[in-house]
Amino acid sequence: MAAPLALSNFLSFLSPPSSISPPPHVSFFPSTSSSPSSLVAAPRRFPGGELSSAASPSTVCFNSSYNVQIVVEENEPEERLLNRFRREVMRAGVIQECRRRRYFENKQDEKKRRVRDAAKRNRKRASIFEIFEPEHRATRVREQEKRR
């Protein structure tokens, strides 16, 4: 009689504690500026859930999650609105992501793509760094000359 009880106690000690809190829900709170042309670009934002303060003053009743949101101000020229939208979409990477998910890519293709993206990022970072650090550029050029 006591043995099964002791066994169950032993097993409950082994099992993971039940007081683990669920992982915090990743919600990006947009940083709204005080100017009227507030730019809210929050990836995978779910209004109506954690954001109880109703940061978006929209009158849309149904909840929708969006990738990019642009608040249009009064009398904004058409080109400026389009440019702003395009820039935000590029920053969010929507079109790239769509193109990637259009067809299945196997592990080989995925690895190739990741390497290409990393190389591009590193090259961009290196070129920006060299603008600010001319000595770095000088050393790089010197090493290239030495190799030749």
Binding site: S58, C61, Y66, Q69, I70, L81
Partner: protein, 131 residues
């Protein structure tokens, strides 16, 4: 008799004035569909590049998206819509062109949102094309 009554009521409801609405633009690679709904999501009118007379590869062009958006908005502006939100879905050349046409038509825009559905690594997409 009851269904006849319902038919009559719904045709009367279509003439209602909707001052604020939502414009959904679905821009795929081959076509652009523009749907105008009210804030609750009930469709008021729609138009697409295909219904505007373009067929085949011309449906996916930005000009076709522009005409589709223009068509859709014309029917709705007569009904008295002044403000609208824009929800853009999908990659495609029609995104910017339709937005431009909406802006030019004189409707006040409150938001422009991108609601392209992004899976969190869900269904497996179709296999690669070997063309």
């Amino acid at each position: 008799m009851g269904s006849r009554r319902n038919g009559r009521i719904s045709s009367r409801k279509n003439a209602r004035k909707v001052p604020k609405g939502v414009i959904h633009i679905q821009a795929s690679f081959n076509n652009t569909i523009v749907t105008i709904t009210d804030v609750r999501g009930r469709v008021i009118s729609w138009s697409s590049a295909g219904t505007c007379g373009f067929r085949g590869t011309r449906r996916g062009t930005p000009f076709a998206a522009q005409t589709a958006a223009g068509n859709a908005i014309r029917t709705v502006v007569d009904q008295g819509m002044q403000r609208a939100e824009v929800m853009i879905k999908g990659p495609g050349l029609g995104r910017d062109a339709a937005l431009r046409a909406i802006r030019r038509s004189g409707i006040l825009l409150s938001f422009v949102r991108d609601v392209t559905p992004m899976p969190h690594n869900g269904c497996r997409p179709p296999k690669k094309r070997r063309v």
